[in-house]
């Protein structure tokens, strides 16, 4: 895919910039937009963001690497995030992580060879009342069992 935004996306970048007293603040929403479109933040994508944001590449790289949710390598079509922090751990979060890891042969922050699925062990997602929980891409699944996860992952294929 060519690394270039459409004119609508450019308009969106300008809108983001206008929301803040200084345009630099738009970098997070623009990185989100870039990740959504290009899948992950490769060096080329970050250089592109740096050029349209008028910011040094080093700054874009610095910001992108500060946050765990910006992907610095390709991730799966379905990015499965398993919380193993305390409340989820107390209710079986680790078993869930191990199950998915074994089933798909991938570890933390790894992606299956066909790019279909990737796995991440995440810190508390703010869903402790629904522990154990996982998230697939942007959706939370709370109070979940291994059987339900298998069914969801089978159904989503």
């Amino acid at each position: 895919m060519d690394i270039v935004f459409t004119s609508e996306e450019f308009a969106e970048v300008e809108r983001f910039k206008s929301l803040y007293p200084q345009p630099k603040a738009a970098i997070m929403p623009v990185l989100w937009m870039a990740q959504k479109k290009f899948g992950w933040l490769s060096e080329d994508v970050m250089r592109y963001v740096s050029s349209i944001m008028n910011l040094p590449y080093s700054h874009v790289l610095g910001v992108a690497t500060f946050y765990t949710m910006y992907f610095k390598k390709p991730m799966g079509h379905r990015h499965v995030q398993v919380c193993t922090n305390v409340s989820c751990m107390l209710r079986g979060g680790e078993d869930i992580f191990n199950h998915i890891s074994e089933k798909y042969g991938i570890g933390h922050n790894e992606c299956a060879a066909d790019g279909d699925i990737s796995l991440e062990e995440v810190e508390c997602m703010g869903a402790c009342g629904g522990a154990p929980m996982i998230a697939i891409n942007e959706d939370f699944y709370e109070n979940i069992t291994i059987e339900q996860i298998d069914a969801i992952l089978a159904g989503l294929k």
Binding site: Q22, K24, M28, V63, M69, Y70, T84, V86, C124
Partner: protein, 442 residues
């Protein structure tokens, strides 16, 4: 709309819709606020006794009064919805079920401090709740409840606009100065204080940072009056709190109750007790950075900051984590330390390195490879982090370590060997029996 204790989350269905909110008197407290002087509004908040719900329990009215008067330069309000402290999941309820009350609270705060622009910072993982909050903000703007349309809706010249900003996965951005750096488009490194945000905050301008729940509490305070509010719950930490209960309880969730509610009532009356009727081993009362309580000391504990201080712990975010008698305490502490190590931004040596050491020592303890000497080293590392860092993440990491080690010493001792044994002693070790004698001889 408001009947105690349902002030922040009134039990009205579809309250997230603007029409329903307005039909129940919503935005009426803002109308009332603008008939008062700004000082009078701040004074009401002060008299209510409201203390911040983001963890530090600072007086909200006091914080607002630190903002400089006058409109010669822009001032900003940042609303902290980063909500990443393990065990905390309460602000999310407000985004989902009562976003307009948060917006109304922002309007009142903005009016009181002369602020015309507010930023709601929401953690990136909350995709859905970022969306819901954005929808509520857009609806409010389209219908003239925020932005330029306010002049027509409410009269007068004051307007305020709100930007919803999505984080991208960094616990540290909940720390108020890190939040400001993140919002400005930099790495989310905490800033050294002073200068305090009220003098030099976002883009160098006076800024107030408040938690989501704090601001959502403002409309009910004006509605029922500051005196009535200050009489709810514990006198020194009044009002209702959103207790988020998780872990080993039958009905986990968010419960809005008066401050100072008995911990045992929260667990047994509201949350239906512990699965399998097991005994409680430990409770973290306010998010993972707060020192734990032992299961055998929770009788009579009241859940407000002042009462908890008597037990050397604090209310924090009100996120209560319950652990039953079968819980492996060293393992829980390892998980907590792993978290703080992962989330340390790395600016301060004690936090960056100390957290790494604590995680490593705890790993050894959990594996059964540690000695009793390691427990003392662990405690001293925690003590050397505490108070020696730029931001309070250092303290947040040290407190649970010191708390768990102190209150559950026997659990840790059961995992460690009295002295270290070497599997293949080299020449030096061959002359000495253990690491302990080695250390003593130097």
């Amino acid at each position: 709309m408001y009947s105690v204790p349902h002030l922040v989350l009134p039990q009205i269905s579809d309250l997230h819709k603007l029409d329903v909110y307005v039909a129940n008197g919503g935005y009426g407290q803002y109308r009332k606020a603008i008939t008062m002087t700004t000082d009078a509004v701040i004074d009401e908040v002060k008299r209510s006794g409201l203390r911040g719900r983001g963890g530090a329990c600072f007086s909200t009215g006091m914080k607002w009064s630190f903002m400089p008067k006058g409109n010669d330069k822009p001032k900003y309000l940042a609303i902290n919805g980063d909500e990443s402290e393990p065990g905390s999941f309460k602000d999310r309820q407000i985004f989902e079920y009562n976003p307009h009350q948060l917006i109304e609270g922002i309007l009142i705060a903005g009016y009181a401090m002369g602020i015309t622009k507010a930023f709601i910072y929401i953690r990136g993982e909350y995709h859905k709740w970022v969306r819901l909050m954005q929808e509520a903000v857009d609806e409010a703007r389209n219908r003239g409840y925020i932005g330029d349309g306010m002049k027509q809706t409410f009269g007068g010249n004051y307007t305020l606009d709100i930007v919803v900003h999505k984080g991208a996965g960094a616990y540290i951005c909940g720390e108020e100065t890190a939040l400001m750096n993140s919002l400005e488009g930099d790495r989310g490194y905490p800033r050294f204080k002073p200068p305090f945000p009220a003098n030099k905050g976002l883009w160098g301008m006076p800024t107030t940072i408040n938690n989501v729940e704090t601001l959502a509490t403002i409309p009910p305070i004006l509605a029922i009056g500051p005196e009535a509010y200050s009489k709810i719950g514990a006198p020194k930490h009044p009002g209702t709190l959103l207790y988020g209960v998780s872990g080993h309880v039958n009905k986990p969730g968010v419960y809005e109750l008066p401050s100072g509610t008995l911990l045992t009532d929260i667990i047994y009356k509201y949350c239906g007790g512990v699965p399998g009727n097991k005994k409680i081993k430990a409770i973290i009362p306010g998010g993972s950075s707060m020192p734990p309580l032992r299961g055998d000391e929770i009788e009579g504990v009241m859940m407000d900051n002042e009462s908890l201080r008597a037990y050397n712990t604090y209310i924090g975010t009100g996120g209560i984590m319950v652990m039953d008698e079968d819980t492996n305490i060293p393992k829980v502490l390892l998980r907590i330390s792993r978290f703080y190590h992962h989330e340390s931004c790395g600016q301060c040596t004690p936090c960056r390195e100390g957290n790494g050491w604590m995680e490593k020592i705890l790993r050894r303890i959990v594996k059964g490879d540690a000695t009793s000497h390691d427990l003392d080293v662990l405690f001293s590392v925690a003590s050397n982090i505490e108070g020696n860092t730029i931001c309070a993440l250092g303290d947040a990491a040290a407190w649970p370590v010191k708390g768990f080690l102190t209150k559950f010493r026997s659990d840790f001792e059961a995992c460690v060997k009295p002295t270290r044994e070497f599997l293949s002693p080299n020449i030096a070790h061959g002359r000495r029996q253990s690491a302990e004698t080695l250390i003593q001889s130097v």
